[in-house]
Amino acid sequence: MFKKKLRGGVHPSTHKELSNTAKIRRFPLSDRLYVSMQQHLGAPATPVVKVGQTVGKGQLLGASQGAISAPVHAPTSGKITAIAEHTAPHPSGLPVLAVTLEPDGRDQWEENPPVVDPFKLAPEEICTRVGAAGIVGLGGATFPAAVKLGSSLKTGVETLILNGGECEPYLTCDDRLMREHSTAIIQGALLMQQAVQAKNVIIGIEDNKPEALEKMLHAAAGSGIQVASVPSRYPMGSEKQLVQQLTGKEIPARSRAADSGLVVHNVATARAVYQALFENRPLISRIVTLSGQALTHQGNWEVPLGTLASQLINYASGFDATPARLIMGGPMMGIQLPDLHVPVIKGTSGILALTNDEINTREPEPCVRCASCVRACPMGLLPLEMAASIRAGDLEATSKLGLGDCVGCGACSYICPASLPLVHLFNYAKGELAQSHRDAEKRERTKILARRREERLERQAREKEALMAARRAAAAKKAAAEESSS
């Protein structure tokens, strides 16, 4: 059958061999954990503990706030020593609220209700428990998993797709996870299938991970889950592109995957679902890839959330060279870290310390319209035209060219022979457009309020007028009556 396959894309050097050979190791507890209240997309969690309080492992530290949010749990047992702002793992280096936890070393679980067979649970109950466990999309987007599952259940979906693409260079946390915990992933996938009542499940894995592919095929045997190999090409792990590759369907613009009968989750999210439902273990740790040529030892670690990146690197590796750039996530879409004094959060798929040779330090040159970016764009956009119109300040035209469809994968910037900061320009324009959109809404609201006020004043004037007229009429009537009576 002729299926629509991923368009464009690029082949960055993967550098996966740096970190994919050794087993995942468990990172020991640090003497202080900084558990951020904002580890997910949406509203930050609200602390429900007090300074000085002792907490058990897995106890709720921050409660979910609002429709799109996720709770946060204690990665270990210990004492809360502070609830204060701490530098966020974000290029801005802005502070977010974090709960400081000093482990007592006993790593003692909070009392947990006994585990029942999770496959006997109703779909809604699975969603609720996934939400209560604080599970978010572990591929890096950190969208609360329960919200996605719940809305997919409501819309009804045909296919659950598990994303084992891991197309970002350097990162191997999903690769190692699939090799070492394939059964947990499959069980988690089956639970998610039940949660959204999907007819089938497909797991897409890039063909540069043959060991993971084999392990997953083996684990999935007999479960009805289909494990598919997809070509290694960046951005294969992007939701829209993976869907296109696996099903031949395109998710229509401005609609969600669920509207096309699909829901996509990361393989690590499936494992977290397994742990939450089978082991009553909320999301309190994650697998982090440590890589980059500036590090002495690269590898994957299961790290308690809230561990500082500096402690992670000091203990696990140390530096071979002064890193030219520190990145959280992969080198394509990851973000630059201001320093290492930031905690590991649910979205920390990797911490990379790259040398000068691994990053691009070239100055931008003029665009020669070579159209490499056009050929690389998986969305069929014209990055060079968009960049030109942004530079000209014409954001309206940029929007017409499809800026809203850009997934920000960075394939265009990666391939550009002139080293133009294309993604940077697009994100700037997206921000500006969002701002002007908000401004326009505000103006509209102000206009409505002003009109209402005018109407109210008019109405009041009319009523006053009517009242006066009535009074005058009454007075005249009275006068006339008095006159006639006299």
Partner: protein, 358 residues
């Protein structure tokens, strides 16, 4: 702390200067052959072209207060000059070369805003301007046959370039395209003219024919083109478009009027079709950006060139055709856009997939 840097943090090894270097490498076989074919004067034209182009580029970068060294290093002026040299008559005098590079690099490129901003292909625009301004010098073709019999030594070559030695008529000749145009205009039969001109496919393939400095050897230009395709520097659409756009109408008209209009092979192998196909319509700055747009652009160039050759006043029409199509690029770019993922070709969101999901 330094400003935060936006991703992607990794980058491909692609660089403008490296791309330009590859283009120059691809031009080398045809150029070396031209030196062998036309001797020292051709070499002088080439050197003079490169040096003067760098001079004009540096001068005008200075005028516009741009960083001179970094822009010179991108190699774009060298590529322009090199291609222009291949388009000039083999024994062009020094002033023709220098005026040519001035037109190409300063007038067409730098004044329009520098690299990436020019509307017209610098080499083609310069060739057209020179042809109109200096019709005699621009059509003084050298017969390679004569050069092989009596190759000028270095000093004579220098004299030719410096315009102090008059080129004797023994060295000059007319291109096949010229001959065809003149003879058929006088009512002569095409087959007679070709026999009289000793027209051989093999000679036109290898390049042993009269023409511009570097446009005669179809095979060596093809070699360079294939190399660039292999390296991913150029894409196939524009070259294939040009060759098809020229070959198809030529083939058809030749079928109906074989004695008045030459066929596809003649058109492709005489004149500058292969140089234009692989090194001129592939100039990214002045070509459309999408695959289909480039195909349309190439087709237009080929068709227009054939029309000018067959029915126009000039025996060779490629430079005019390329300039005309360069002017049409914004229109092509407007109408040939890739379909965006999740949208119809008109840009509306695709209909919901629910139907075929069940």
């Amino acid at each position: 702390m330094s400003l935060p840097v936006h991703g992607p943090h990794a980058h491909s090894s692609n660089q403008l200067a490296a791309m330009m270097l590859q283009v120059m490498l691809a031009l080398t076989p045809a150029t070396l052959y031209a030196f062998w074919l036309y001797g020292w004067p051709a070499f002088n034209v080439w050197v003079l072209s490169l040096v003067s182009a760098l001079f004009w580029e540096a001068l005008f970068l200075k005028f516009f207060a741009k960083p001179v060294t970094s822009h010179l290093k991108d190699g774009s002026a060298l590529v322009t000059a090199w291609i222009l040299a291949l388009c000039l008559p083999p024994w062009a005098p020094w002033w023709l070369v220098i005026v040519g590079t001035f037109l190409a690099v300063a007038m067409i490129k730098q004044i329009f805003g520098g690299l990436g901003q020019n509307v017209f292909n610098p080499a083609m625009a310069a060739r057209v301007m020179l042809l109109i301004a200096f019709p005699v010098e621009m059509t003084t073709w050298i017969n390679p046959e004569a050069v092989t019999h009596q190759a000028p030594d270095f000093m004579t070559g220098l004299g030719v370039t410096l315009d102090s030695v008059t080129v004797s008529d023994a060295f000059t000749g007319a291109t096949l395209l010229d001959e065809i145009k003149n003879q058929t205009a006088q009512g002569k039969l095409l087959s007679d003219t070709l026999i009289h001109q000793d027209y051989q496919i093999s000679a036109t393939l290898s390049g042993h024919q009269i023409g511009s400095l570097g446009e005669t050897s179809a095979l060596l230009l093809l070699l360079g083109g294939v190399y660039l395709l292999w390296k991913g520097i150029i894409t196939w659409q524009a070259p294939v478009g040009l060759l098809l756009g020229m070959a198809l109408p030529a083939f058809l008209l030749h079928l109906f009027q074989p004695e008045a209009y030459p066929g596809a092979g003649f058109h492709l192998l005489t004149g500058g079709a292969f140089l234009a196909a692989f090194f001129i319509v592939t100039d990214p700055v002045t070509a459309p950006t999408t695959a289909t747009g480039r195909l349309a652009f190439g087709l237009g160039c080929g068709l227009l060139a054939w029309l000018i050759r067959s029915f126009g006043n000039y025996p060779e029409g490629l430079a005019f055709a390329v300039m005309l199509m360069n002017a049409a690029v914004p229109v092509i770019d407007r109408y040939f856009k890739p379909r965006i993922y999740g949208r119809t070709s008109k840009g509306d969101p695709l209909p919901k997939n629910r139907g075929d999901a069940s």
